[in-house]
């Protein structure tokens, strides 16, 4: 152990290649003889395919092959998480074919794939494919899709209901608690649909080698091994050892690149068929139509309080829109990643969520940065601030009154919620109090009262959130319906000269693993960071892995590496004891040296490594070599939490909202690289505030996305924000060796309700007692709210 790197803002080692344009993304890869695919997509949200004629297209210049549903429609991609109906029946799981042959179910549904000598030739030929559609009525809104007589997305799924589900206390108990409440706050709202908008569009290359009978798939993914497992075992029936999946540099995922997409299997099949590599890269316009969207909940929530302001019950009815097909983890998001977070930071004694998950003629919905937890946080935190306004009490005092008391999870037990989870450790009062200090709360309220007399209203919004990261252990998630384990793999290979190659099943697509993981390894082994290389993303070099999502990389992937490092040090000590002629108990490992305690006799890490590979003077019964692999399956989720505070200025005449200050005090456990954590928080805040103020996929009544381009879909920009004011509290995770909790999603989970709350607070300060404004809070919507 040494203490040179952990906790330091080491500059990111991967940035040299990224900022000099040397990153190597899938679309940068050009293979000999490569062909290019273009996918012909449905212009309609719902239509029966009466005929497809590819003959004219097949005769066109440069066309190599054309595939349709007739050829590959019997292959489909699976859902990775089974959820059952309340009555125990298995969820409805209609097939999601690689190419559709009977009817299209959303705009962008794939109908044919043309492979040609160039992308342009493929596109030209696709336009010559004649398809005769019979257009059918479409259903877009989840709460309307369940009504009698609504169009059926899948003919054999009654009322479009994939499943219904509940969690929490028995509903009668919650009803009784609310009946006894002295105040009930009711909020009906929409958590709108978002497009993930990773900077790098999805891109795949299929390559079949007929000499070795081996397939390679290059894919812009967050989890190459999982893609290989799904594609081999559940889609194409290929032998896994004959398939290599490589996720090279990937330019952002935010969840949208977790899933196994149809195009990955299509390029793989096509490359076998034609004996040449096949590349497909989506256009930005296709990304809006086909990258799984996030959120889209329609909710009615009621929170009851007693006369002292203590929460007595929470009752929720939500319709979650799953889109036209089940994406890989779509069923887990509104259920186990959302319902289980409804305790929040509060001691709410009775909670009940009634959830209905619904198919519609829209793009599939799945995890998007935060995945379920932003929906739960938005619901709770909106209710808290709104309740304070309705009851005429201070929103921070209302929170302090209802917070779960601090517990460290070591000397005190974890906190058992009413919605299945057991929190690991927390100090919720701490983050709120720190946030209030940074805000200067009393002064703010004075300034707000002054501003209320002017045309520039001031508002403050609070959000004290909790999230669950590093979803695990496998046995638990398995019992909840996950069709995969959720451990991670870390292999540490010490080379004979003492240099270290680390193979991790986590996958970096912007998170900086090559830096953070190297900091951990360098400190644990007492060697320079330059001596450590972090390797990820290739199923032929990394033994196995579950990839990166749910802020799990360091908590789960980092812990797997630590397990291997422990084995390295333990074996190194045996070798050192033998060479130094002492008992292994007398060896201590400090700053990269194996010392005999109380003497000046020692051997360096490099000496031990060389001895392990040149074992001339070596313990009997000890294998040569210094190379260990470990699987780490956590004992629990980790639970980061924090306090986000937004201060906004609302122009009374135009409804325009400006973020004046944004304060975020996050507790993500121990921090390895503060700069990287700050970067993660910044990015998360931009996305979370983006949902509140700017973003949202809009459908017309026919199921056309009417803002599927950057001309119409508003992305947040740097100049929309002030400099974020960040601080941290550290409550270590008690159950993983690094004490880390995860920081990838926190910013996105906590920030959204703080902004909406702040705008509502500004409006109330001028007497506009508005309960809700639908996100995004555009100037028009805020202005209209003030006129009502």
């Amino acid at each position: 152990m040494s203490n040179k790197f952990i906790g330091k803002s080491v500059k990111r080692v991967e940035d040299k290649r990224f900022i000099t344009g040397r990153g190597r993304y899938t679309d940068d890869i050009v293979l000999p003889g490569m062909t290019y695919a273009y996918i012909l997509r449905s212009p309609y949200a719902h239509a029966r395919i009466k005929s497809i004629d590819t003959s004219a297209a097949e005769a066109m210049e440069g066309v190599v092959t054309i595939m349709t549903g007739e050829e590959v429609g019997h292959y489909g991609v699976p859902c990775g998480w089974q959820v059952n109906f309340k009555n125990g029946d298995t969820m409805k799981e209609p097939p999601h074919p690689l190419l559709v042959k009977d009817k299209v179910r959303h705009v962008g549904d794939a109908v044919a794939m043309v492979v040609a000598e160039s992308r342009e030739l493929a596109q030209d030929a696709a336009e010559a494919i004649m398809i005769d559609y019979e257009v059918l009525p479409a259903v877009i809104d989840a709460s309307k899709a369940v009504e009698e007589g609504a169009p059926l997305v899948h003919d054999d799924v009654p009322n479009n209901i994939c499943f219904d589900w509940e969690i929490g206390n028995p509903k009668e108990e919650v009803d009784a608690a609310l009946a006894s409440a002295s105040h009930i706050t009711t909020l009906e709202f929409v958590n709108q649909r978002l497009a993930p908008n990773a900077m790098e569009p999805r891109s795949y290359i299929g390559q079949y080698d007929n000499v070795y009978d081996k397939y390679t798939l290059y894919t812009s993914t967050q989890n190459p091994h999982l893609i290989r497992l799904l594609m081999c075992a559940f889609v194409l029936g290929l032998p896994e050892h004959k398939v290599r999946v490589v996720g090279p540099d990937v330019g952002g995922g935010f969840g949208s690149k977790i899933y196994h997409y149809t195009e990955e299997a299509l390029v793989t099949l096509a490359s076998k068929k034609i004996g040449r590599p096949v590349k497909w890269t989506e256009t930005r316009s296709e990304a809006f139509l086909t990258d799984a969207h996030g959120r889209d909940h329609v909710t009615k929530a009621e929170m009851g309080f007693d006369a002292d302001g203590k929460i007595v019950g929470l009752r929720i009815k939500t319709f979650a829109n799953l889109g036209a097909y089940l994406s890989t983890f779509s069923t887990a998001v509104p259920t186990y990643l959302h319902g289980t977070l409804l305790q929040g930071l509060y001691t709410t004694p009775k909670i009940h969520l009634d959830m209905t998950c619904v198919f519609t003629n829209t793009t599939a919905v799945d995890a998007y940065r935060g995945a379920g937890r932003p929906e739960a946080t938005y619901l709770l935190e909106r209710l808290l601030d709104l309740s304070a306004l309705e009851m005429g009490v201070d929103p921070t005092e209302l929170r302090l009154k209802n917070f779960i008391p601090a517990f460290d999870g070591v000397t005190q037990p974890g906190y058992q919620t009413n919605v299945a989870l057991q929190y690991d450790s927390g100090n919720y009062h701490g983050v709120l109090q720190r946030g209030l200090e940074m805000l200067g709360y009393e002064d703010f309220r004075k300034a707000q009262a002054e501003a209320a007399k002017t045309n520039k209203l001031l508002g403050v919004g609070f959000s004290t959130y909790i999230e669950a990261c590093g979803i695990a252990p496998s046995a638990v998630v398995g019992s909840l319906g996950a069709r995969a384990g959720l451990y991670e793999v870390g292999q540490v290979r010490v080379q004979p000269t003492g240099k270290v190659s680390v193979f991790t099943g986590a996958h970096s697509h912007g998170q900086g693993h090559e830096t953070t993981f190297a900091q951990v390894v360098a400190d644990r082994l007492g060697i320079p960071m330059e001596d450590v290389d972090i390797i990820h993303g290739d199923s032929d070099t990394v033994a196995f892995g579950m990839g990166t999502y749910g802020s799990r990389s360091l908590a789960v992937g980092g812990s797997a590496i630590v397990k291997s490092l422990d084995k390295i040090i333990e074996k190194g000590a045996k070798i050192a004891a033998h060479k130094l002629e002492c008992s292994v108990d007398d060896i201590e490992f400090i700053d990269g040296k194996f010392n005999v305690k109380g003497t000046d006799k020692s051997l360096g890490f490099g000496d031990i490594a060389l001895t392990a590979y040149v074992p001339h003077v070596y313990p009997a019964n000890l294998e040569p070599g210094l190379d260990f692999s470990s699987f780490y399956d956590p004992t629990n989720f980790t639970y980061p939490f924090g306090c986000h505070i937004a201060v906004v200025e609302v122009d009374k005449e135009t409804g325009t909202t400006k973020i004046k200050r944004f304060i975020a005090v996050d507790d993500v456990g121990n921090v390895i690289n503060p700069m990287i954590v700050d970067g993660q928080i910044h990015g998360g805040l931009a996305q979370g505030i983006g949902q509140a103020l700017f973003e949202g996929v809009e459908y017309d009544e026919n199921g056309q996305i009417i803002n599927a381009s950057y001309m119409d879909y508003t992305m947040p920009r740097a100049d929309d924000f002030p400099m974020f004011e960040l601080d941290r509290q550290v409550t270590p995770c008690p159950h993983n060796p690094l004490g880390v909790k995860g920081a990838g999603e926190a910013g996105c989970i906590g920030s959204t309700p703080a902004v909406t709350n702040a705008v509502i607070d500004a409006l109330w300060s001028a007497g506009h007692k508005v309960k809700d404004i639908r996100m995004p809070l555009t100037s028009e919507r805020v202005w209209r709210a003030m006129q009502s």
């Binding site: 212009p43 705009v107 139509l289 017309d700 056309q704 996305i705 009417i706 001309m711 119409d712």
Partner: protein, 147 residues
């Protein structure tokens, strides 16, 4: 997209009716339509070139005259396909004689768009519809003056 328009034209209802039923004239006055060919009774093959905001394209499809009640009303159905998306429009046209030399021509209907047209053009659609409507009536007046 909702389509509505009303305009008084300086001609008799019969005269306007005859012009509307003449493919060459209809093609000339309708903005964007470059060719109309009679295929069957009441069914035309239509070729149109339209630029709507950021998207432009050449449309090919059918225009159908249904339920004609000369010289009072008919329904114009348009089904157009293009690389940038498809349009299906249903427009009810009404002619109301004010006197022998003045007729109020009005229409109302709806156009559904799909594909790129729907995704990137929607923002400017209502503005475009207004412009096209004005252009249509102006062209009609010009054509009347020329005759």
């Amino acid at each position: 997209m909702e389509l509505t328009g009303t305009h008084t034209l300086p001609a008799s209802a019969q005269k306007i009716w005859d012009m509307l039923m003449t493919p060459d004239i209809l093609a000339k006055v309708t903005p964007g339509i470059s060719r109309l060919e009679l295929e069957n009774e009441g069914v035309y093959k239509a070729v149109a070139e339209v630029k709507i905001g950021p998207v432009s394209g050449k449309f090919e499809g059918k225009a159908m005259v249904e339920n004609p009640v000369a010289p009072e009303s008919f329904t114009l159905k348009v089904l157009q396909n293009s690389k940038i998306g498809n349009v299906a429009a249903d427009i009810h046209m009404k002619l109301k004689a004010i006197n022998d030399s003045e007729t109020e021509l009005s229409f109302e209907g709806k156009a559904d768009m799909s594909g790129l047209l729907a995704r990137t053009g929607n923002r400017v659609m209502s503005g475009v519809a207004n412009t096209l409507t004005k252009q249509f009536f102006k062209n009609f007046e010009d054509e009347l003056a020329a005759q």
